[in-house]
Amino acid sequence: MDLKVWQALPLCVLSGAVMADEALDQRVSQLEQEVQVLRAQNQENAWARIDFNGFYSVGINQSNNNLGYAGSSDDYDFNNLTLVGLQGDFALADNTSITVQLVARGKDDFSPEVEWAYLKHTFDNYITVRAGKLRLPLYMYSDYLEVGYAQPWARPPEEVYGFVPFNSFVGVDSSYDFEFDDSTLSVQGFWGQSEEGSANYDDILGMNLTWMIDNFTLRMVYGISKVTVSQTNQPDYQVLSDKNKSDFFGGGFSYDNGSLLVVSEVTRATVEGAYPDVDSGYLTLGYRFGKVMPYGTVAGMKTQDDDERIDVMLPLGPSGSLVPVDSSFIYNGKRTSYSLGLRYELLSNLSVKFDATFVNGFGDTKGLLANKVSGTATEDSTAIYSIVFDSVF
């Protein structure tokens, strides 16, 4: 009896081990199946086809007078630099998606506006076509104009970025990236129309080339449009703009090696007729010391067709009757701005910027500043102080 038990023991242990092994195998294959099911479910899950991203800026600015430069005044203002953007990307198929971006700005009482809304398809040859509401890609920072976190400054240089009165259009664009060993050349063509206030911009057609070589980026853009200002809203309708041809030419350069940042753009915008032709440009230098980046910007703009001004009819006569007025004081303009700022990285997705901008060099013009044109402010220089927190999430 004892012997039998003793003999059976190894068998039991052995078979027990085999059973445990089988159970383990079963358990493993069961788990593997579950993983497969979970992975399959994950691919079918609608949430896997949707991406949400956002950006947020909250800032305060104040000017030393009421020239109204960049939306500032001599009182502190929280609304001017504060905005929130939400973007949803919805994949319809592997190469087809819809993107919608809503931006709500403090200066518009946070009523959300659609800035991007497009259907995008990438063909097998990697040509991408987008149709819908798109950003007008005139400037280096146009595509992420309001994503403060992705920009070095508290605000883009106003002399350059503030002149074209519309930032998006409805139409189509197409782009392709030529990939070379050490560089990428992006080519983008765009076509569409835009309506902003009482002005219509038809037959917008343009192209840009962006060449990225390591830390260098070079950019060229050319675009045309026909500008029409609606007769009912504009007292100066009679001559100023009826499908007047407008050209935009821009060149940009940037260098960023992680420490040193150099950005510069020059633009030339022309419109047939009395509306001003403007040349503008800026140069920004910054240097990152770890989390801190001091920067400086010089920007300038000047109208180029001051001798082409004509009289416009304005309601300045007795009881608001229209009288001819020389338009030089409205459309002649020049100014220079000097900014010193500091960007500090609080987190990897949150930065704060302090900026002081001094503006002068108006000469005998009103600097295209509405408050100076209307006479509500008469100073020959202005200084704006800003603090803005920028985040992406």
Partner: protein, 136 residues
């Protein structure tokens, strides 16, 4: 004292091991990648692997120490620059950032199970299920 020595040698070991990230691929994937290809892959610019397949890039979560040391070597971008870089691409709809995983073992698992997946791990975490295609 012994404990101190142990801790010291461990920390030296972990420091040296952190400085040695390697890029891994599936055994069925590419045999080798160039520095340029690796840089373009992890910046979302490489559309095709050398074998013609569409790459599936696997990244680590923001702030991961391995991620920081890898990008210092491979793309020359720190965490803030990466964030700004991807913000530009996300908010222009040009590209989506890579899928992120929480740990090297998950990265190895993903690469082992997807012929087109590319990830990077500490060379100590490389297993037989994957192959090393680039050492920065």
């Amino acid at each position: 004292m012994k404990n101190l020595l142990l801790a010291l040698s461990l920390s030296v070991f972990s420091l040296s091991s952190l400085a040695a990230p390697v890029v891994i691929a599936n055994p069925a994937g590419p045999d080798a990648l160039s520095k340029t290809e690796v840089k373009k892959l992890f910046l979302g610019k490489l559309k095709k692997l050398p074998n013609g397949a569409t790459p599936v890039v696997i990244e680590y979560n923001k702030g991961d120490i391995l991620r920081i040391s890898f990008h210092e070597l491979a793309t020359d971008k720190n965490e803030g620059q990466l964030q700004a870089y991807w913000s530009k691409l996300i908010f222009t709809g040009k590209a989506k950032p890579p899928k992120t995983v929480a740990s090297p073992s998950v990265a190895v698992f993903e690469v082992a199970n997807n012929a087109n997946a590319i990830a990077y791990v500490d060379d100590a975490d490389v297993t037989d299920a994957v192959k090393v295609v680039f050492k920065p």
